[in-house]
Each structure stands twice: as C-alpha cells, then as structure tokens.
C-alpha cells in the first residue's frame, strides 16, 4: 500500500503549494480570458470556493484537480457571457491564420507532401506513456511553445471543451480560421511531442 504523506491539514498549510497553485491557475486563466482583471477575479473566486471544502481532500493532487475544475467552470461562464454579448456582431473573415504559416512550409514540400524527414512516425502505445511523469513535463513544455492565439483556442477546444461557435465568438475569428488555428496547433504539438519524446522513447 502506498503511504500518503499529505494529511488534510498540511495540504492547506503548505504555503508553497498554495502559492504555486495560484500561480498555475492565474497563468491558465490569463491565457483563456486574455484579461488580467477577469483572470484575477476568476482565480480568487475559484480558490475561495474550493478552500472552504479543502479538508475533504487528502492529497494535493486531488485538491488541485478540484480547484481547476471549479476554475474551468468559472472561465466557461465568463466566456459564455462574452459570447452572448457578441452574438449579434459576428466577426468578419480576418487575420486569424497568419501565425504558423512557416511551420506548414517546413513540414510539407511544394506539392503538399510530407518532407522525407518530417513524415509522422508510429508512436507505439501512447496510452501507457501518457501516465509517465517525464512525459507530462515534455507535454507541458510543448503546449507552452505554441503561439499564444493557437494555444488559447486549442485549450478552449480541448480543455474547456467549448464549441466552435463559442470559441469563434469569444476570439473574434471565423469558423474556417478557427479550424486553421486548431490544425496548426495540433501540427506543432504533434511535431514537438514526436521530436522530444516519441522518437527517443520508442526503443525504451
């Protein structure tokens, strides 16, 4: 049996943990909301709500998951509100597809085929790797390397699980631009994971 070192009382008493948690929440909320004030408020509310019941959580990991779930809801609410406000003034086609152009050109030749050394490799059995500690560090670093707008829409889509319409409205991009942004985010994330994890980890 594993021994759990975190007891309810020291989960909360751990200042370093709380400070770190707040910091992670803030950077997440800022990325999603693109507004420091709204982000601060959302984090503050989520933390206050969560800590009221924090005694129920024995492990820091569980507390963190729960706090983030609350934050996620708050952010979704804020974005939905924003979405309703903007619903009647839908954005024109715009410049949402500018960044990331270079990566496409690096990966594909002029006929649109994979460059020989960029062709996606087989990743083996990712399901098992998903739970490895070092893998998540690489994953986190790869996410952080995405251009800001790509990262934002990708997280909205995959983390907050918002619909295309909601994201388009909150970000003022058209659906086709959103698809381009998501495509580029996935292209880059895939490339980063393959270069920094899967190509080396396969023989292990």
């Amino acid at each position: 049996m594993n021994t759990l070192t975190d007891t309810p009382s020291n989960t909360l008493a751990d200042r370093h943990f709380l400070e770190q948690l707040r910091h992670q929440m803030l950077s997440f909320a800022r990325l999603q909301l693109n507004d420091d004030h709204l982000a601060e408020d959302a984090v503050q509310e989520a933390l206050a709500g969560a800590l009221k019941n924090a005694d129920a959580f024995k492990r820091q990991a569980a507390l963190k998951t729960w706090v983030f779930a609350i934050l996620k809801n708050k952010i979704t609410d804020i974005l939905r509100q924003k979405y309703r406000l903007q619903e009647h003034m839908l954005p024109d086609d715009d410049d949402g597809c500018k960044n990331g152009e270079e990566l496409d050109d690096q990966l594909f030749d002029h006929r649109g085929h994979w460059q020989a050394d960029e062709r996606p490799q087989h990743w083996g059995a990712p399901q098992r790797l998903v739970y490895e500690r070092q893998f998540w560090q690489v994953f986190d670093a790869c996410l952080n390397h995405l251009p800001a707008q790509q990262a934002r829409v990708f997280m909205m889509r995959e983390f907050l699980e918002l619909s295309s319409n909601e994201i388009c409205s909150a970000q003022s991009v058209s659906v086709s631009n959103l698809h381009v942004l998501l495509y580029r985010a996935r292209l880059q994330l895939r490339e980063c994971l393959e270069n920094n994890w899967f190509s080396g980890a396969q023989e292990a």
Partner: protein, 75 residues
C-alpha cells in the same frame, strides 16, 4: 488526388465536425497509401486523449509513487 497537407487538415477538422462521405472516402484512399498520414490520423486521437488526462490533473509533481500501474494489477 488529395495531398498530405489537405489530408492532415481534414483529419484535424474531423475533431470539430463530421466529415462528408466524399471526404471520408478520399481520406481512406489517401491513408491506404500514405503511412505518414495514417500515423498522423491516429495521433489526432491520441492528442485528444492526452489533453483529457492532462485536464484531469495527471500532473507530474502530484503523482504518488506507483501511480503508473493504477490501471493494471501490480504483481
């Protein structure tokens, strides 16, 4: 015929919308002859799964020892 750039675009879009029958058929034909794009398609699914685990707080610092074996019986 569809090239790899177009094929990968569609595979990404398939995460947002249902592809038409024609698109699906073209993709099938392409991936039959293109291993790279076939891998890419599988990895789109993997990425979504990874994001789910990531969202659920499978975070490196918080992992208690022995976590990796949580879905299997450890001998």
């Amino acid at each position: 015929m569809m090239n790899c750039r177009e094929a990968t675009r569609l595979m990404s879009e398939a995460q947002e919308r249902k592809l038409s029958l024609g698109e699906t058929a073209e993709l099938k034909i392409h991936t039959m002859i293109c291993a790279g794009c076939k891998n890419f398609g599988q990895q789109m699914q993997s990425l979504r799964g990874m994001m789910r685990s990531f969202a659920q707080g499978d975070d490196p610092e918080d992992k208690p020892p022995g976590w990796q074996g949580h879905n299997k019986d450890n001998e």
